[in-house]
């Protein structure tokens, strides 16, 4: 009897503790997300209101027209289209290359496999910032591209092209690592069975492995898409004209004059740049989180 009451009390206390924790953490979370609320509220204010000496959270008038006006500063439909195209091509090519290579490393024995894979692992640790100079030089001097001659001189190479943006992204080794980890978990008997049935490696890959790898490909696609959409460094270096500009570069270059920044339009554009990613996130939350967590799993 006494014991029963003790347990009941403990459960009750635990429940209360849980509630308290939720309330406290919710408040903390709201504070944490204040920058996002500020972004949206500011994007709906007028410039005089923003510069007024007294700060008010709520916009006087909700100026949704700011969003339209922001999109008129520069050719935003072009920037969005560029970023979208680069993202889609990068994701598509990455999926093919990475799952193939991941399968090769995981399931097929061949001479030098471990050494080659070790290089891939090491390459994965090297951030793009370190190799940006030589990669840029390589792409600029790419033979026969952009008016270059056979030795890669004379033209602009892959500067201001989609290829120049996509190629460095698809060379990233993380997807190979991810796919390899996934394919390693398949039983060896699967390969044996396929072999006995006269299945070539290609057929086994296309007929058996690929249909089973939807979850890992979805994870990889979402991860790659968000990385490509969010990247700033590479478009900053590779693109120097308006026609191939991406949203991340446009957002910081289109609203700043020498003397002032149009905060309401800048915040509107920022919100619009975040929006496609947020929509993707809403629909693929599970894969998103898996992708982020996967970066923490190591061989």
């Amino acid at each position: 009897m006494r014991e029963g009451r003790g347990v009941a009390l403990m459960v009750k206390r635990k429940k209360w503790g849980n509630c308290l924790a939720i309330v406290l953490l919710s408040v903390l979370c709201l504070v944490f997300l204040i920058p996002f609320f500020l972004m949206i509220l500011t994007s709906l204010k007028s410039m005089p209101e923003i510069l007024a000496s007294r700060f008010v959270w709520k916009p006087e008038k909700w100026l949704f027209a700011n969003y339209i006006e922001a999109m008129k500063k520069g050719d935003w439909e072009v920037y969005f289209a560029n970023t979208f195209i680069v993202t889609v091509i990068t994701v598509a090519i990455s999926l093919v290359l990475n799952s193939m290579a991941g399968y090769g490393f995981a399931r097929i024995p061949f001479r030098g496999r471990d050494v080659l894979f070790f290089f891939t692992l090491t390459g994965m640790m090297i951030p793009q910032q370190i190799t940006m100079i030589p990669v840029f030089v390589n792409l600029k001097n790419f033979p026969l591209a952009g008016g270059n001659d056979l030795l890669g001189h004379g033209g602009t190479g892959m500067i201001n092209t989609y290829a120049g943006l996509v190629i460095p992204y698809i060379a990233g080794a993380f997807g190979v690592f991810l796919c390899r980890q996934f394919y390693m978990n398949f039983p060896v008997s699967l390969d044996d069975a396929a072999k006995i049935d006269g299945c070539s490696r290609f057929m086994a890959y296309f007929r058996i492995y690929l249909p089973l790898s939807k979850p890992i490909l979805a994870t990889l696609a979402v991860l790659k898409a968000s990385q490509t959409w969010n990247d700033y460094l590479w478009p900053l270096i590779m693109v120097n004209n308006n026609e191939k500009m991406t949203v991340q570069v446009a957002v910081i270059s289109k609203f700043t004059t020498e003397y002032s920044i149009q905060w309401n339009l800048l915040m509107a554009a920022t919100a619009l740049v975040i929006l496609p990613l947020l929509i993707l996130f809403l629909f693929t939350q599970k894969y998103f989180v898996e992708g982020i967590v996967a970066t923490g799993i190591k061989g």
Binding site: A21, L25, C29, F32, L38, M39, T42, L51, F55, L97, N98, A101, I108, P109, F110, R111, R113, D114, L116, F117, T120, T122, M125, I126, Q129, I130, T131, M132, I133, P134, F136, V137, N138, P168, I170, A171, V188, S200, R201, S226, N230, Y232, L233, Q248, V251, I252, I261, W263, L266, M267, T270, V273, I274, L277, L278, F281, I292, V293, T295, G296
Partner: protein, 301 residues
């Protein structure tokens, strides 16, 4: 661990050259965009390459200049300052929130999303939002300080404040990542360890200190290594928020590489800087390979 496994498989099945066909498409890009560039970078660092005409070998001159370049030395110092101020708070916060969020209920799932939302957006977007928040006249921080009657600052243009602001924003943005990684680490700790400890009468603090923390050691190590590499390469927030100013107090190594390489076109000189950064990252990677598997092999079964 993987070498042993694959050797066994190699012995059993043999050598199938078709494997090269599978890895070739990726490997060509990888060779051309990751491995070859490292060699190119090393070669270029001994030249005065300017992207257009000249590319003469000048020996060690770039490196000699590097150690007399006060701005570069400052950028190295700044990068260390950034790393020192960024890594520990981000990881501690990530661990704390990971522990708080590890309970399984609907509410916590939604809260979790809130805390890693900043991690999903681009560094550029995060920076533009904070650029406004820290704006000296219209920004909300100074508005609040003014209402309270306190002193206001020109946050991002004050040599004493600018780096702190950059670090603060980076922590805000990346804390959620550490939280997620810690969460998955916490989930992997078997529940029976806690049950056994509870039976033995271990307090909450003891359970954290003697079970959670040691079990999370591989996670902590991984986060420390990746955070080190990431903060050695910090660039985007610096370029957007301060452009290295005021008085070079926020310029970082990658920012210097960018400035020298892509605004002054001193590709040889910038390559020498990249080589130094590459060596630093290699050192960290070596530490990782040397100590990375410690604690992961401990069998708790």
């Amino acid at each position: 661990m993987m070498a042993g496994k694959s050797k066994k498989r190699l012995g059993r099945i043999g050598n199938e050259p078709i494997g090269y066909v599978f890895i070739a498409p990726f490997y060509l890009f990888f060779l051309y965009m990751v491995l070859l560039p490292i060699l190119n970078m090393a070669v270029n660092s001994f030249t005065n390459y300017d992207l257009y005409k000249t590319r003469d070998f000048i020996g060690l001159e770039n490196y000699r200049n590097l150690f007399q370049d006060s701005i570069f030395l400052q950028s190295v110092w700044n990068t260390f300052i950034y790393s020192a101020m960024y890594i520990v708070p981000t990881m501690v916060l990530g661990l704390l929130f990971g522990l708080w969020m590890s309970r399984e209920s609907k509410g916590f799932h939604i809260l979790r999303t809130g805390f890693y939302l900043p991690y999903l957006i681009s560094m550029v977007c995060a920076s533009t939002i904070w650029l406004w928040i820290f704006d000296p006249s219209a920004g909300v921080v100074n508005q609040i300080l003014r209402v309270l009657g306190w002193e206001t600052y020109d946050w991002l243009k004050d040599p004493d404040m600018a780096m702190g602001c950059v670090v603060f924003i980076s922590i805000w943005k990346n804390m959620g990542y550490c939280m997620l990684i810690y969460l998955s680490g916490i989930k992997a700790i078997p529940a029976y360890l806690y049950e056994a400890a509870e039976i033995d009468g271990a307090s909450r603090v003891q359970r954290f200190w003697y079970i959670t923390l040691p079990m999370l050691q591989p996670t902590t190590f991984f986060l420390f290594i990746t955070s080190c590499i990431a903060s050695f390469n910090v660039f985007e927030q610096v370029n957007v928020l301060t452009n290295g100013g005021p008085l070079n107090t926020t310029t970082t190594v990658v920012h210097q590489i960018y400035i020298r390489g892509f605004t002054q076109f001193k590709m040889g000189y910038a390559s020498a800087m990249s080589v130094m950064l590459f060596l630093a990252v290699c050192l960290i990677t070596l530490v990782n390979f040397r100590f990375g598997n410690q604690g992961q092999d401990t069998d708790i079964g």
